[in-house]
Amino acid sequence: MSGMSGSLSGNLVRWARIKSPWITIFNSGACNACDIEIIACLMPRFDVERFGILAKGSPRHADILIVTGRVTRKQASRLRRVWEQIPEPKYVIAVGACGAGGGVFEGLYHVLDGPECVIPVDIYLAGCPPRPDEIINAVVACLGLMEQDAAHGGKEWRQKQPAGKAGHASTGEGAV
């Protein structure tokens, strides 16, 4: 991972990334309520830009991917492609009850499981829809995760150990 070494430039990149994370928003089949709440975050009332959080249109410029909703069969390959375009280290926040546990779309013919069946998810955010302050809280928690990952030198320390193997007990995904 870039920016994880102890060099001066690496530390600078790490500091800049945590100081000002750029996000991109992807609707993978939500009802748009979560999207409206995320847009409300960006608008003057909550105004996440004062914290340095910037919404970008292109995933190639982003650090954090915010996925709203269950993944429909049509969007699955698109979501995968968007995720692949984000430069490392990349983080994914699944927003809303649908992204976390199915919501009202669970079991329908046109949906897969949550975003975790297509891409690895770092943070789950519950709520239908979550309030803008909760979304900001999730992004801040993701920044904490970034800092911890940088200290551990990667995301591997968060991986759940297989059941038989005795490893240090670490939480898999953070939940907000």
């Binding site: 699955a76 390959s77 013919y109 069946c117």
Partner: protein
């Protein structure tokens, strides 16, 4: 032209195609056979000034598929031309040549209900994903997803 159409007017113009009834305050329904629907639409366009298509709706009544063309004009009265197709072989002539906006509705109905519209210039997938299996129509009442079958999306192996 803002006067509403009455049941008598519609019966005079479209009564020869099938039974006419006042379904609601502002909606007159004409039930007919599938092969007369095209002439009825041409007649409604010409004689009743119903030159616009509001929607095409479909309902699955298990044995038959009900296809309803809703037309509207400057008089603001909805004329619903209803017909029934057998579920085992649902086939009807397209109306996209006389009413071009019908083309996209017909693509959607073909996608979700499996009604074939003869003469449609491009009856391709519209709503379902590209790798959805052929011959599965999810809005049919008797449709159930087959366990173990791949319906599109990402395959389980996550390659």
């Amino acid at each position: 032209m803002n006067k509403k159409l009455t049941l008598e007017e519609v019966t005079g113009k479209l009564g020869r195609f099938g039974t006419v009834e006042q379904a609601r305050f502002n909606r007159i329904r004409v039930s007919m056979e599938p092969d007369t629907i095209r002439d009825a639409i041409i007649a409604a366009q010409g004689d009743l000034a119903c030159e616009r298509l509001l929607a095409i709706s479909t309902a699955d009544n298990t044995e038959t598929l009900e296809l309803i063309y809703h037309l509207i004009g400057p008089h603001r009265t909805v004329i619903s031309l209803a017909t029934r197709l057998p579920s085992h072989l649902p086939k009807i002539r397209t109306i996209s040549d006389i009413l071009p906006p019908a083309g996209i509705y017909e693509r959607q109905i073909h996608d979700l209900f499996g009604i074939t519209f003869d003469g449609h210039p491009g009856l391709n997938r519209l709503m379902l994903n590209e790798d959805w299996p052929e011959g599965e129509y999810p809005l049919r009442k008797d449709w159930k997803p087959e366990p173990g079958r791949f319906y599109g999306g990402i395959r389980e192996d996550r390659s």
